[in-house]
């Protein structure tokens, strides 16, 4: 191709010595080019003549991002002061065809640069440098009040960012561009509820693994034995062999990893640490065999029978190494038999996204948490929902549980008691006891503190399946290390708020 037209954006601002940077651009079907630039302007150009049609000075600082709605009657822009503005194409007069872009609503949800914006049919979505994703529903498009009509802010991704090597008592933290490996401390003492025990061995920062290049890390995993670490970026897959010798640690990159179709959205080691499951963006799951001392080879590729090409984003393998469950972008859950290396069955479709799933190591029941807070238990050998799951569906879950805001991000089990399911989201940790009756809507869902004050007999009557603890917030990860040790990972918001660069200084009246 060749350059057809060149538009000089800073033509009208000659007084200013600074250069004008166009941060984002959009091309509308009407032939209008929309630009947003560092002078805080949003400008509308005729692409054929290259002339300026409208110019709106939105802010005194740069307009960084821009998104157009599907109907092209609304635009959202994000500025470096953290404000987002909506533009609407409105008729100038009632009934007339002449329409004009008008800046309408300002929103100030961020404190830092708004680096990305998106415009859905019912909401404005903005993501900023202050580590927040904000969904602002457009009230005029909402039919009724409900979950969708509320302003939502997300600080943490709805993904598991921590992986745990249970046997080696190691934790792997995934950051945007590096990984950190920590050894957990331990104590030999015991104490009462609420007591902080002295550590006999301090937690130890073992290593920091920096990813090369500008790419962000998509997913990472550590093997249960702790000797393998894998991570994946948009274009590359890395596998490392970690050796621990007394107090020293050595890490080696595994050379010649098989060429896979990247990126991978989820990595999962098998329970015995001899293979790695790589969830590909094309709907298949690759199985890599890990070879001692340092090697790996591509063993199989598991394909869904329908040939769906939606990316697989969640994996769960059974403790006995028999089963693997994979969730694709179309929210179907495929279960593969690893012994025969073939597709076993598909969990009945449910029209919500899966947020977490895990296979019970004893019963091989697949527990699935959906984004609408529903819980299902699917028996893999029987290829059907378990009777408990059916009871849950018949009785329905507690209202307060369903009204929760954040999705379950991790599910694990208590090997000592197969009826216990451990789940957590950002704000709570829950032990779900299947042997206890489900609470009805009149009962108090979060009753742990009231139960403590009750006498034993009354307590028995009040017990129900959900035992919820809200002590740790924001909770990133919770897992059972062994029978009497549970690891919780909390990440205080102030930890990274203080690390943010300074926001743009603005004069505020009256301050």
């Amino acid at each position: 191709g060749q350059t057809v037209k060149r538009i000089m954006v800073n033509y009208h601002v000659q007084k200013v010595k600074r250069e004008c940077i166009v941060w984002s651009i959009a091309f509308l079907s009407s032939g209008t080019v929309v630009t947003s630039d560092s002078f805080g302007r949003v400008q509308f150009w005729d692409w054929e003549r290259g002339t300026l049609q409208e110019s709106h000075t939105v802010s005194s600082s740069a307009v960084l991002s821009l998104a157009v709605s599907e109907k092209e009657d609304s635009i959202i822009v994000g500025t470096s002061t953290g404000a987002t503005y909506q533009f609407q194409l409105l008729p100038v007069k009632i009934g007339s065809m002449e329409k004009r872009w008008v800046r309408t609503k300002p929103f100030q949800h961020h404190t830092h640069d708004v680096r990305a914006v998106a415009h859905s049919s019912t909401a404005l979505i903005s993501g900023g440098l202050d580590a927040q994703l904000v969904i602002r529903p457009l009230m005029e498009k909402m039919q009724k009040k409900g979950y969708d009509a509320a302003l939502r802010k997300f600080t943490f991704p709805h993904r598991r960012l921590v992986s745990c090597a249970r046997k080696a008592r190691l934790l792997l933290f995934q950051f945007s561009q590096h990984l950190e490996l920590w050894r957990l401390g331990s104590t030999e003492e015991t104490g009462k509820d609420g007591q902080v025990l002295p550590l006999c061995q301090m937690p130890e920062h073992l290593l920091q693994l920096k990813s090369k290049g500008p790419e962000h890390i998509y997913c990472s995993c550590i093997s249960p034995c702790g000797s393998w670490v894998a991570y994946c970026t948009a274009s590359r897959f890395h596998l490392y062999r970690v050796r621990y010798k007394d107090s020293s640690i050595s890490i080696k990159k595994v050379p010649k990893v098989p060429k896979l179709l990247l990126p991978a959205y989820q990595l999962q080691f098998s329970a015995n640490s001899d293979s790695l499951f790589v969830a590909s963006a094309r709907g298949s799951v690759h199985i890599l065999q890990l070879l001692e001392p340092k090697g790996c080879r591509h063993l199989h590729t598991l394909q869904p029978p329908s040939g769906s090409s939606e990316a697989v984003y969640l994996l769960a393998s059974s403790a006995d190494g028999h089963w693997l469950a994979a969730v694709g972008g179309d929210w179907t859950i495929h279960i593969y038999n690893l012994k025969c290396v073939k597709h076993h069955c598909t969990v009945p479709m449910y029209n919500c996204a899966v947020t977490a799933l895990a296979i019970n190591p004893i019963t091989n029941n697949l527990v699935i948490a959906y984004s609408d807070q529903q819980l299902f238990e699917f028996s893999i050998p029987d290829k059907q929902y378990t009777s408990w799951s059916r009871t849950v569906q018949n009785c329905g879950l507690h209202k307060v549980w369903l009204e929760r805001d954040s999705p379950i991000t991790h599910i694990t089990f208590n090997p000592k008691n197969p009826s216990h399911i451990l789940l957590h989201d950002i704000y709570m940790f829950c032990v779900l006891d299947k042997s206890l009756p489900l609470p009805d809507n009149s009962a108090l869902l979060m009753n742990q503190s009231t139960l403590k004050q009750l006498p034993e007999t009354a307590r028995q009557r009040q017990l129900h399946a959900f035992k919820i603890c809200k002590k740790f917030q924001p909770l990133l990860f919770a897992d059972l290390l062994d029978e009497n040790c549970l690891v919780m990972v909390e990440r205080p918001i102030m930890d990274f708020k203080t690390q943010l660069p300074l926001p743009i200084q603005q004069k505020k009246f009256g301050t």
Binding site: G40, T57, Q88, L90, T104, P106, F509
Partner: protein, 840 residues
């Protein structure tokens, strides 16, 4: 002139209480050239017309019986004006001539008026909803086209219910397609064509920046856009409001307090907003980032209006000021009468030099208000500190003012209201002849420990400057005497400064009033219940008076022949007169006197009493216990202050009852800050001052054509003079009011030609005594002023005048009488000897 049955209380010029509505610019007029030339403005019960070229009040259109709440140009005839009033009538005026064309009686209180070009024969008004208190509705009134002056307009149809009473809360949209009205947190828009009513509301929740109630609304003249102002200072621009759900608005925010008014420019590209900050904000293209300001307008902006051609804009302020602003946001002119101050603490003081009324003006300023021209002469910044427009802030304010007898010295006291220790300053200003203004001479910090209650100069007409004495009385139980001393500081630019000479006290009572006798030899200071009299030379206590119980409220000495009397008014409702020679109570009267004001030029003293919701006026001479003049029920409001202002020339007053008004005029200020005076003249006479009639013509700008014409006229008049007596008489005849009336009244309001013909002919005739009857009447008026000393003749003249009804005003009625009375009058004239006639 005609002796009226009683004195009338007349409101004085610029002091009318409030601007009830936005001002209106007249449309382009062909005779004057492009651009509007007049500004029409509701002012109290009147509609005022100002010239934009000269800032003069050209016309005062009265006739409404209540506050004028709306003025609108007739959209179909730009030379006509609609006005609405609380008295329930709409008047249609020809404002160029100042005459009411029609009066439509609606029968409800009218709170706002809107006239639309798209509505042929109806206007919109806001009226109270019958049967419900505090709810108002917008109705359209059909104005019948029937003939006659006074018409009934009873055909009402309700457009919107539940609107706000303020005229700023309703606005009509582009081409009258819709009407928008705001009240509290609701905006309602009614589309006339589709008969659709949409309601929108903002959240009623009180945010930390105040409540977001609507305060005003304006509609874009070309597009479908509504601008609303809010109590928290935000401006919202609403669009797409024909969709109940998909409406949208954007917000502009600069004001920190209530947005008082909004106005779009003619093309709608700019939006003007004003508020309590006294800053006019111009928003370009509805953008939050592009705005211009016109700061320091002096007082909060109340109304904003644009001229039809967009060249000018006008803001009405809460202190009665009008500011004209160019389209490029440059201050152009200011029309200011009496500036309404928050609280008049200084009292009404007359400047001896200019005879102007002096009182609190802008915060911290002293205004000099000329009563003759209804204009502010100048504003003297006393406090000299930046005034911060914010509620609840204690700021320094001017509380006391005194002038020396010659007006050379001005003493001011300013204080800040602090509960614990007030901040006080006494300043002395000297009038500089070169700069023609007051210059600060001495500043005394904390002259008293507590508030200063009274202050006066020793009034000695012939006194030298060095004998000038200032006395201040304070609540700290002392009075202090301040004298001028030679300034010893070599760096000082002035030769004299003021310092304290004597501190007097009496039994540790608070000093409340002080007053010098006319010759300056005695000083009376009141200490709570007691009046003490001091020798002003030796500062010895001479004697004391008291009239228990009750503290002394006011004291004053008698003047001229009554200078041996001291008058005092007490809290318990007694007016006492003490004789200084016998040191005894001469007489006392049971009256609750609020104001005691002696006339500086005569021995009369005016006292205003307040009893059961009405003020009464008593005028008396101290030597006679019987008042000379009593007017009960002077006005319903409480009169706070009064002042005698000396007349330039003594007025001819016939009745003995009103002789006290001869040399001075009495002005009152009520607690609603209305300035009023007593007038002997009749209503009609006041309403159409002849000088103002012609002001329209005089204010025309000079064009080459007018110059040419003027030259020609001047030549003609020169010739006239040369031609001698006869022509001079002719000229005189043309100038007579009857002819003028005939030539300057619009044709449609004139009586039939046959009716007018005799007057016209008569006015041209040279009568037997070389005078027409009317001329004689005119001359006699002049004469009466000149020959007032001759009491014999004066009485003679008044006799005649009583028979003569005013020929100018009652044109129609006089004609029939004229033939009868003519002879009678002529006979009388013949009896008298007018030596001055020979002058003609």
């Amino acid at each position: 002139m005609v002796a009226p049955a009683s004195l009338r209380v007349v409101r004085c010029g610029g002091s009318s209480p409030r601007h009830g509505a936005r001002a209106v610019f007249s449309a382009d007029s062909k005779q004057v050239g492009p651009g509007p030339s007049y500004l029409l403005c509701a002012s109290g019960d009147f509609v005022k017309m100002y010239s934009l070229a000269t800032e003069e009040t050209l016309r005062l259109m009265g006739g409404h019986g209540g506050l004028v709440t709306g003025v609108q140009l007739n959209p179909h005839n730009c030379m006509q004006l609609y006005s609405s009033s609380l008295d329930g009538s709409i008047k249609l005026w020809d404002f160029m001539d100042g005459i009411p064309i029609k009066t439509f009686t609606v029968g409800y209180k009218l709170l706002a008026l809107y006239a639309l070009a798209s509505c042929e024969d109806s206007v919109f008004v806001v009226i109270p909803k019958s049967g419900e208190r505090d709810t108002f509705q917008l109705v359209s009134v059909k104005l019948t086209k029937a003939a006659g002056q006074d018409l009934e307009a009873k055909e009402l149809s309700v457009v919107l219910d539940g609107v706000d009473a303020s005229p700023k809360c309703t606005a009509f949209g582009r081409e009258g397609e819709y009407v928008a009205s705001v009240k509290e947190v609701n905006l309602q828009v009614y589309f006339f064509k589709h008969k659709q009513l949409n309601r929108f509301s903002v959240s009623a929740m009180k945010t930390k920046s105040g409540n977001n109630h609507f305060t005003c609304v304006a509609c874009h003249p070309k597009e479908d856009c509504i601008a609303t102002g809010h109590a928290d200072g935000k401006i919202r621009l609403w669009r797409n409001f024909y969709h109940r759900k998909e409406y949208t608005f954007s917000t502009l925010h600069w004001h920190h307090d209530t947005v008082m008014d909004l106005a779009f420019s003619v093309e709608g590209t700019n939006l003007l907003s004003g508020g309590v900050e006294s800053v006019l904000v111009l928003w370009h293209n509805e953008s939050d980032c592009q705005k211009d300001f016109l700061p320091r307008l002096g007082s909060p902006v109340e109304y904003i209006s644009m001229s039809p051609d967009g060249a000018l804009c006008c803001t009405l302020h809460t202190d009665n000021r009008i500011t004209i602003i160019n389209s490029n946001l440059r201050f152009s002119k200011s029309i200011q009468g009496l500036i309404k101050s928050m609280d008049i603490k200084t009292g009404l003081v007359v400047d001896p030099r200019t005879k102007a009324l002096v009182l609190n003006g802008e915060p911290g300023h002293l205004q000099f208000y000329s009563l003759q021209s209804d204009q502010q002469l100048f504003s003297l910044d006393i406090v000299q500190r930046q005034y911060i427009h914010q509620a609840g802030l204690n700021q320094v304010d001017l509380v006391k003012v005194a002038f020396s007898a010659q007006g050379n010295w001005l003493a001011t006291v300013e204080e800040r209201e602090e509960v614990t220790d007030p901040e006080l300053q006494l300043k002395l200003w000297f009038y500089g002849e070169e700069t023609q203004s007051f210059k600060l001479n001495t500043r005394i910090n904390m002259p008293h420990e507590d508030h200063i209650t009274d202050m006066c100069f020793r009034d000695m007409d012939e006194s030298e400057d060095d004998s000038l004495i200032l006395v201040t009385a304070g609540r700290d139980c002392v009075f202090k005497v301040w004298v001028m001393v030679e300034d010893t500081d070599p760096e000082a630019q002035q030769s004299v400064s003021w310092s304290c000479d004597f501190v007097g006290s009496y039994h540790n009572y608070q000093a409340t009033n002080c007053c010098f006798s006319e010759d300056g030899s005695l000083l009376a200071v009141s200490f709570e219940e007691t009046v003490t009299v001091w020798d002003s030379v030796t500062w010895d206590l001479k004697c004391t008076f008291c009239h228990p119980p009750g503290k002394i409220r006011n004291i004053c000495f008698g003047r001229l022949t009554c200078s041996k009397y001291l008058i005092g008014a007490t809290d318990y409702g007694f007016l006492c007169c003490w004789n200084l020679l016998s040191c005894a109570l001469e007489w006392s009267a049971h009256l609750n006197i609020l104001v005691l004001q002696p006339d500086p030029l005569s021995e009369y003293i005016a006292a205003v009493s307040w009893l059961s919701k009405e003020s009464s006026l008593f005028v008396f001479k101290p030597n006679e216990p019987r008042p000379i003049y009593i007017q009960r029920n002077l006005c319903k409001e409480k009169i706070q202050l009064a002042a005698f202002v000396p007349r330039d020339e003594p007025e001819a007053i016939s009745a003995e009852k009103y002789l006290w008004l001869r040399r001075s005029q009495l002005f009152f200020l009520t607690d609603t800050q209305e300035l009023m005076t007593l007038s002997t003249k009749s209503l009609e006479e006041r309403l159409t001052p002849a000088s103002k009639q012609l002001a329209v013509e005089e204010s025309l700008p000079v064009t080459p054509f007018s110059l040419l014409l003027g030259k020609h006229r001047r030549q003609q008049s020169q010739e006239d003079i040369d031609l001698g007596k006869l022509v001079a008489y002719n000229k005189h005849g043309q100038d007579s009011p009857a002819v003028k009336e005939l030539l300057h009244t619009p044709a449609h309001v004139l009586p039939s030609a046959s009716f007018l013909c005799p007057i016209f002919i008569n006015s041209l005739l040279i009568s037997k005594g070389n005078k027409s009857a009317e001329e004689v009447a005119d001359e006699v008026e002049m004469e009466s002023e000149k020959t007032e000393d001759d009491s014999d003749e004066e009485r003679d003249v008044t006799e005649m005048e009583q028979e003569d009804t005013n020929p100018m005003e009652l044109l129609g009625e006089t004609i029939c009488k004229l033939s009868k009375s003519q002879e009678k009058e002529l006979r009388k004239i013949r009896k008298m000897d007018y030596s001055w006639i020979s002058a003609f």
